[in-house]
Each structure stands twice: as structure tokens, then as C-alpha cells.
Amino acid sequence: MQAAKQRSWNTRLEAKQKRLEKMKGITSNRIIPTRQIVEALETLIMPGDRVVLEGNNQKQASFLSAALAQADPKKLFDLHMIMSSISRPEHLDLFEYGIASKVDFSYAGPQSLRMAQMLEDGKLTMGEIHTYVELYGRLFIDLIPSVALVAADKADSEGNLYTGPNTEETPTLVEAAGFSSGIVIAQVNELTDELPRVDIPGSWIDFVVVADKPYQLEPLFTRDPRHITDIQILQAMMVIRGIYEKHGVKSLNHGIGYNTAAIELLLPTYGESLGLKGKICRHWALNPHPTLIPAIESGWVESVHCFGGEVGMEKYVAARRDVFFTGHDGSLRSNRTLCQLAGQYAVDLFVGSSLQIDEAGNSSTVTRGRLAGFGGAPNMGHDPGGRRHSSQAWLDMMTDTDPLARGRKLVVQVVETFQNGNKPVFVESLDAAGAKADIGLETAPVMIYGQDVTHIVTEEGIAYLYKTDSMEERRQAIAAIAGVTPIGLKHDIKASEKLRREGLIALPEDLGIRRTDAKRSLLAAKNVEELVEWSEGLYEPPAKFRSW
């Protein structure tokens, strides 16, 4: 009893207060002068700290990351960085300069070569490669942050934050640090007396700093319909007919490829001609893609919850409040964590794509010497065993009569059999298997495991993998639609005919689709200008997408 009384239960809080005490030389309120940010970071952060740095595939706390990279490695070293997305050069400079030594992350697409090189050179120690929600989850369990560095649009003098349409992961990161005696520093574009709305209360924020320029925000999810090909249109027709209509898919999440943009743009034309409005694609977990505008305008889409925003879509979203989640100021309220959970549990179907698929249907975007990570795809692209709510599509995946049988989420991969540069997508073994040995990972960086995939769509046809009842049958079904890749060349014509008769694969003609009908003229909008017209001028595309 005596020992328990002597123990302090506030060590984290006391440590925080000591750090705050030292800040008095820099600021007497919660506003850090812009020019003193490096000094402030050196004061507030200690060697060995776990530091969360905001940045996903869109919004980046770019001012704070650049400032941290300028810290003196004699003062700040051995930081354990936790970053959703390693996207900016200085994110890895932190390790190059010796400021940080360990990393836990989700996605490193724009720095994938350096990631692989620095691991090989022993310049950074890898925690794990996570999915987004897995990483967010660990912030509350065993990776509780000492410091969170985040980005917002505006703050007031009380530290209240307005994050605008791109709220994204800010609330989650702030919450993990703010309620565990961690320190929260927010960079803002602007300090103002009155905020349009409060997205994060000031009592969760320790310091605010006005950035020298607005946080980095990229229009990453905009796909110009001009680049959609006839093959992508053919695949989109097959998905609509052979999957959405067949299974009655009402809620879904898409990837950000041209093939899924084609699906979005075929709903008001091809989808309409099949009489499917109101029957499929009513509820979405998806960023506000501009290519979704025609489907929204023609009444296909009832609701869209968003991971993040998209540059140029602000006015459009504000004017379509029935569809999007918006605040009382009219701007979008996105939330990456909640949308990931919604996409994991609440939607019927996920459509993604991949760089490599093996004969069992495992897929990965990790190629030799490049360590890209996964982002959110594995959460979207798997069957969450915890789901209980039933829907027609989910129930449609049941293949046996066991009284305790349950449904499955539909996980669809849409790929062309060859990538650009004549590289086969269907391969005998994934490069990810080699990456495990090359980089010394405990498990191979597989993005979506074959057992979770219910359908694969190529320009050849659809494989209904959920119907297969053995690995051999699964291999045959994949080989049958793998074209002239090393896997496709193994297919046996007789076996394929049998699979076709039994409905385990379907070719376009089996779905009533004539290949010659797959033309760009089917797209509801053929270029960005037509998307603007559909939006009644509300969509304001960034300059790089304007051709007029």
C-alpha cells in the first residue's frame, strides 16, 4: 500500500509541463512566431520521442515537416516517426540527417525507392507497414505519441481550428496526442478572429504557428475523362453488368484509377439503359471525385462520405448538401478514420487495382527495389469478419447452406493483363515475396490477399472467384482471364469452357456486352470541360486540368 501511494500517476503530464515551461522564452501565449518554429520544435520535442507527422496522400503538414528537418541533430535525434504517408523529400531527410531513426507508416509511393534504399543502408529502422486504420488504431494502444504535428486552414487565438473540407486525419492525430499528455502543434494558413466553424477545440491544441505558405494539398483524385480508353470502358461495362447488377450492389468504395472513373461515368448512360437507377450504387465511401458529378446530377447517388476533399470541388460539394457531409458553413467535413471504417464495414463492395497478381489472386503494388506501402486499400479490400448487417450483395456471396453461413464483402480487382511497358500483371510469383528477403521484413508486403478477392475483371472477362471451391479451380479461373501473360498461357481451353458453362468465368458476350460497343461515346462526360458543365459551373478544376 505504501509503495502505491508514493507512485506518481502523472509522469507524462509532469514531463509535458516541464517542456511547456521551457517555451516561455519563445512565446507567452499559444502562438509560435513563424520564424522561431525550428527553435520551438527543438524545445518541445525530446530525443527518442514518438512524433506523429500529419500527411496522407493529399494534405501535408509541409511547413512543420520542413522545419523539423532543419532541427539540429545534436539536439534532436532518434525520433520515432509515425507517418501515414511518406510523400515529401524531407520526410526521409529526417533519417538521412540523423534526426529520426525509426518509422511506422502506411504509404510511401512518392518516396518508395528511397524507402527501400535507406532500409538497405540501415539508415532507418522499420516498425511496420500498416494500413491507415491500423496505424490510427495503434496511436491509441502501443504507439501513443509524445508529439503530434498537424495542419489546419485557420485558427483563432484560443487555438480552435478550422480544417475546412480537408479535415482528413487531423482529429484522430490530435486526439491521440492531446488526451495522452502529448504535445499538439498545428500549422495554419491563417490566424483569424472568427472561424467559419470549429472542427477541433482549442483546449486540445497546445501551440499554433502560421505557416510561411499554405499546407501542401494535391488534387490527386482527379481523373481527366479524356484519358479513359475503350478497354477501360469495356471493363466498366462488365463490372456494372456482371457484378453490380448481378449482385445488387448498393454501397461501395472505388479506387482512383481511370477504370473506376469509367464506371462512374457510365452510370448515367450505360447504367441508365439497363434500368439500374435506384437499384445499384446509391451510397458511396469516396472522395469527391469530379467524375462522380454526372452520376450525382442525374440522381444516381444518394450519399457520399469522404476520406478527404478534392481541390476544385469545394463549391460543388457545398451546393449538394443532401449528398455530402457538410458543416453549417457549407464546407465538406471529411474524416479519414471514419470513412476508412465505413469503407471497411459498411459498404458492400470495393473495387481496386494492382500492379501484380499471382496465380492464387494475391496482389501487391510493391515491385523490386520499391517499397510503396499500402495506404487504405487492404482495409477496403478485405472481408471484415466482424460485419453483421446483411445486404443483398453481401448475402449473395454465400455459397453453402450451413445454417450459420454468413455473407461476404465483395472485393473486386480490375486490371488489364499487361501494364504499360509490356509488363505482365499476372505473374508466377509476386515481387513482394522477394522484397521480404531483400529488405528483411517479417512478412511479404502483400496488399490484398487472394482469399479476400471475390472477383477479378480483365479485358478478357470476369472470374467469379467466390464460387470456386478449391485452389485448383481458383487457379484455373484466374488463368482463364489472364490473357497471354505467363499465368494466362497455362490455361486449359477445355477447363475454361467448363468454368464458363458453370458460371465461374464470364466473357463479355456471356454478359450481353458487345466488345465493339465499348466506346468513349458512352461516357457521360468526355473531358473536364463537360464535367464543369454537368456541375453547372460549380466545379472549379485546378489549372493543370484546364484545356480551354
Binding site: 523529400p89 518516396q111 525507392l113 543502408d121 523490386r368 509490356n422
Partner: protein, 308 residues
């Protein structure tokens, strides 16, 4: 947004390349300095006949690329990174301040001479497009023998890889690659099996000679041929300059690395546009231009607007 200068290697040479350099005082100064160091009029190096010798080729490449990079410097354009392909590494080393031009001339001359002496005939290089490095590695390893050695050498792009070795060995690998569906598989007009272990002794001799050359810490990072890492250390640059001759050039990784470090404009020094063509395919997110195609004035304009 950052700027990189890239320096071409053998294969980019052209008849008259030194005669067609931009008329800029800094470039003319470089020609004059080269004349003084080599002891002859360098304008005889770029004739068809002279370019049959790898010594003239490598010297001409160095002189033209350094001449133009000094013109950029004189106009106030300094890149954030430099990278050279094979012999081009010496031009890159001069631009980043690691090496004096006069030392580079002497080293490149020696490099050419040693390469010429090492394999007078029967050896060379080939290029395969449509296969990745691993596939070409396997093909070459299966065919290589003591009598007819052949190695996978440079990785120029994800799907463009060279092989080096004896001519019969190379031809067999090219045949096999063609049969297995490579888009192209052809012999290169190079008479030395560069960038493979056959040139190990040349690398050693160059290293011995470079040991007495003054190599300094660069003021901008230099991308290494052998390791595809950015170097800021003079000793590592010395090793790269010596041994890139006997090791594969990892251009695909080098150019990707420059982009990951924030490079969005790559300017290729003369002669030619070989690296620009590769970079355009590999790096869709960056702008790649060559002084030969676009002209010095346009490239200067682009660089100034870009860096402002």
C-alpha cells in the same frame, strides 16, 4: 521544386559535336582550357574518323558537357543535383565542384586508353527492351561461360537493360531474348564490354591514378552510378569515378531518386538526348529537356523561371 543537370555517356557522341557548341564565352573558355591541357586542338576530336576511338569519344563528351554546364553557371543557373551516365560522371563531378576540369580531362583520357587496351576486339555491348533487370540477369547468367562471358550491365529504365561481354555470348543472349518476346534486342555500336567485371582491372588502375587527384567535397550532391545514392563525400565520389567502368550504371534508380528528392526539371547537357528520352518515359511527373534539342537559351529561360 528542384533542378538537376544530367551528363550523357558514350553512345551520345555525334560528328561535329564540339563545333556545334553554343557560342557562349564560358563555353569557349572551356574549349581553350581543354586545348591547353591536352596539348592539341580539341576540334579534331569530333570527326567521324576520330570518334572511332573511345578516347576521342569520351574526351569530346566531357568537353561539350562541361562547356555548356559552365555557360549555365555563368548565367547564374546552378542545379540542385548532378548525375552523369558512365563517362558522363566526370562532367557531373566537375559541375558539382568535386573535381577540376583539367584533372577530369586527364582521367577521362586515361580511362579511354585503358578501356581500348583491355579488349581490342571481339567484345562489346547489347541492349534489350521489354524485360526487367532480373529477367536479363537470368538470361545472361544461363548463357555466360568462361570462353564467352556475358553479363547484365546497365539498368537504363525498368524495361531497358544492357548486356556486356564477348560478341558470341551477347548474340546468344539477344537471340534468346528475342525468342522470349523482348520488344528489341540489338547489338550496340560499342567495342568495349563496359560496366561488367571484365573491366575490373581498368577500375583498379583508374583508382590508383585517382588517388593522387584532388577530389573535394561537392557543393551540390552527386548521384553515384554504382550505388544510385546521392553522394556528398569526396572519397565516395573518387570510388564511383574509378569503378563505374566495371559496375552497372543504375540510371533508372538514379533518375527516380532525383525525382523523389523533389527534382521537377532535368536538363541534359550536350551532346544528344539519350538520357532525356529515357527520363521522359520513366519520370512522367518531371520535365526533361536537352540542350541539343531545345537550345541553350530556351533551357536557360526554363531553368530561371523554374528556379525563381
Amino acid at each position: 521544386m528542384k533542378l538537376a543537370f544530367v551528363f550523357p555517356g558514350q553512345g551520345s557522341q555525334k560528328n561535329g559535336m564540339l563545333h556545334s557548341l553554343p557560342d557562349h564565352p564560358a563555353a569557349l573558355e572551356v574549349l581553350q582550357e581543354a586545348r591547353e591541357v591536352i596539348g592539341e586542338n580539341v576540334l579534331v576530336l569530333d570527326t567521324d574518323k576520330a570518334l572511332k576511338s573511345t578516347v576521342s569519344v569520351q574526351l569530346s563528351l566531357l568537353i561539350s558537357s562541361v562547356a555548356v554546364s559552365k555557360a549555365f553557371k555563368a548565367e547564374g543557373v546552378i542545379p540542385d543535383f548532378v548525375a552523369g551516365h558512365s563517362a558522363g560522371a566526370f562532367g557531373a563531378a566537375v559541375m558539382c565542384g568535386a573535381m577540376d576540369f583539367s584533372d577530369a580531362l586527364e582521367m577521362v583520357k586515361l580511362r579511354g586508353e585503358l578501356m581500348e587496351q583491355a579488349f581490342p576486339s571481339g567484345y562489346g555491348m547489347g541492349v534489350i527492351t521489354g524485360f526487367d533487370a532480373r529477367t536479363v540477369n537470368e538470361l545472361a547468367a544461363a548463357i555466360s561461360s568462361e570462353e564467352n562471358p556475358v553479363y547484365r550491365s546497365n539498368i537504363n529504365a525498368a524495361d531497358q537493360v544492357t548486356i556486356s561481354g564477348s560478341i558470341p555470348g551477347i548474340k546468344e543472349v539477344l537471340d534468346q531474348a528475342g525468342q522470349r518476346g523482348a520488344r528489341t534486342a540489338e547489338l550496340l555500336n560499342v567495342s568495349v564490354p563496359s560496366h561488367c567485371p571484365l573491366l575490373n582491372s581498368v577500375g583498379d588502375s583508374l583508382y590508383d591514378k585517382l588517388a593522387s587527384v584532388n577530389i573535394r567535397v561537392p557543393y551540390i550532391p552527386y548521384a553515384a552510378n554504382r550505388t544510385a545514392r546521392l553522394l556528398r563525400d569526396s572519397e565516395q565520389i573518387r570510388e564511383d569515378l574509378a569503378y563505374n567502368v566495371s559496375h552497372p550504371v543504375r540510371w533508372y534508380e538514379i533518375s527516380s531518386l532525383l525525382c523523389e528528392h523533389g527534382t521537377r526539371l532535368l536538363i541534359e547537357m550536350p551532346p544528344g538526348n539519350v538520357l532525356t528520352t529515357l527520363n521522359k518515359r520513366t519520370l512522367p511527373g518531371a520535365r526533361s529537356v536537352s540542350v541539343d534539342e531545345n537550345g541553350l537559351d530556351n533551357c536557360l529561360f526554363l531553368a530561371k523561371r523554374f528556379c525563381s
